[in-house]
Symmetry: C2
Subunit: 283 residues, 2 copies
């Protein structure tokens, strides 16, 4: 595995790999890797000769009162995890390499970026779309892998790639959960033991709704209510919404198209998100 910190060296290395006919898979991350990230790496390795992982805690996707400065970092551990996972290139640029001083061009998403997290984190998806567009242009992968835990991010990135004609296939990989169900997230490390127990309510609530859905429930209010009951133990429920799986607009009863039940909640001072898909065949 090669660890690279500049765009020019990255380009040089990948040009050689591409000439050798290798398909390039890309897994963009903010580091502090967990099994969710490693599932993305495994998905890439399964279909690409070259797997590039980026680690970059992107300042433009954090709001002024968010956790940019405290976001967990452990580069040496990440490097070992990547090497052991068979990553070809670990790309870890610093902020100056990604955002040189005169930087002023942003990628702005539309309707998909407005609900859910977009409503509570102004500018977040602008930062996400911008940095992902930049990383895509740096790596020029054939395929890029994103975790379904960041459901809205997947939708925004997929739309961005289509809208800006990036010749990159976007693959969403199912959320990896702890044995008890909590969605894996680098932010889980913020949780105290007591908070960790209460955090479980999020996945419990969502998965309870999935059970009801599988038993035939198609009523939006009822499905949301089932999840909500569990979520009473969190410190602040930011949103709990059942949205159309494609448009991210509020779903209507009875459900006839695939929907996503999405939640964001604070447990202590930690903001956690999770979601489940309620899958239906296209009408």
């Amino acid at each position: 595995m090669q660890t690279i910190v500049t765009v020019s060296e990255l380009r040089q290395t990948l040009t050689q790999a591409r000439r050798a006919g290798g398909r390039v898979g890309f897994v963009p991350t903010m580091g502090y890797l967990h099994d969710g990230h490693l599932a993305l790496v495994a998905a890439s390795r399964a279909q690409c000769e070259v797997t590039v992982v980026s680690i970059f805690v992107n300042p433009t996707q954090f709001g002024p009162n968010e956790d940019l400065s405290t976001y967990p970092r452990d580069f040496l551990r990440d490097e070992t995890l990547c090497r052991d996972a068979g990553v070809t290139v670990l790309f870890a640029p610093d902020a100056q390499e990604v955002y040189p001083s005169q930087f002023e061009t942003y990628v702005e998403s539309g309707e998909l970026a407005k609900p859910l997290c977009g409503a509570f984190r102004p500018g977040h998806f602008r930062g996400v779309a911008t940095v992902v567009c930049k990383l895509f242009n740096m790596v020029q992968p054939d395929v890029a892998f994103f975790g379904q835990k960041d459901f809205q991010q997947c939708a925004v990135v997929r739309r961005m790639a289509i809208d800006l004609n990036l010749p990159i296939e976007i693959i969403t990989v199912p959320t990896v959960r702890e044995p008890d169900g909590l969605a894996m997230s680098s932010r889980n490390r913020y949780l105290s033991e007591e908070e960790r127990r209460r955090a479980l309510a999020i996945s419990r609530g969502l998965l309870a709704a999935v059970d009801e859905f599988r038993s035939g429930e198609r009523d939006v209010e009822k499905l949301v209510a089932i999840a909500k009951r569990h979520l009473e133990v969190v410190d602040r429920l930011q949103y709990l919404e059942l949205v159309d799986g494609d448009t991210l607009k509020a779903a209507h009863s009875p459900l006839r198209r695939t929907a996503a039940l999405c939640a964001a909640a604070y447990v202590g001072s930690t903001r956690l998100i999770d979601n489940v898909m309620l899958a239906l065949p296209s009408p």
Copy 2:
């Protein structure tokens, strides 16, 4: 020459050309080609094995009261001009191919897009940056060529390519002028004979300022005043500004860095722009 109207066919054709080791040059246009466009094609042919010209009248860069519907079009003539000029691929997508129905992601520029035309054409450079980013991703050229007549567009596109890490060299080609000095533009065809005569005041004014600059004049107000005197015959002077050649911010006396004297004026109902560079060695 191949004329192509879909992105997928374009990609297929250019992948083959690239495999053959050819350098790809790209000239994006809105059609109704003139010698200015052909100078861009010549510049591309001088350094690239493959030259792609696009013709697309981009709706997102026109304001609601601008000339989108009347913008001059003559595709068959353009096609002949391109063939005769040695263009390899003429790419002429329709609006649906470029902006499918769910399109919602835009490229937003910053400070460079605010003064000059940006101040009078809200959304114009968003449309320009977005379509150029899209076309860049469709064509994936090694080099792209733009005319200096659209000075601010050159600055915005150059910044966008850097900011979004597009691996594309941007080359600005000097403005081509009619024998009497009028900058070539597809919009010149809107002018009546009488308007055509008065339109000449724009280039006359700018070039008079260049003469004074060459004679040693470094005072911003004086240089602008010289140009302004000529411009009294236009129907409405939208702006006449001497700006820093890199930042596009107002230039200060005495000039110590390369500046651009830029003008936009209505002659009859036709809006024309032009500019000249007042070149100085970097301090």
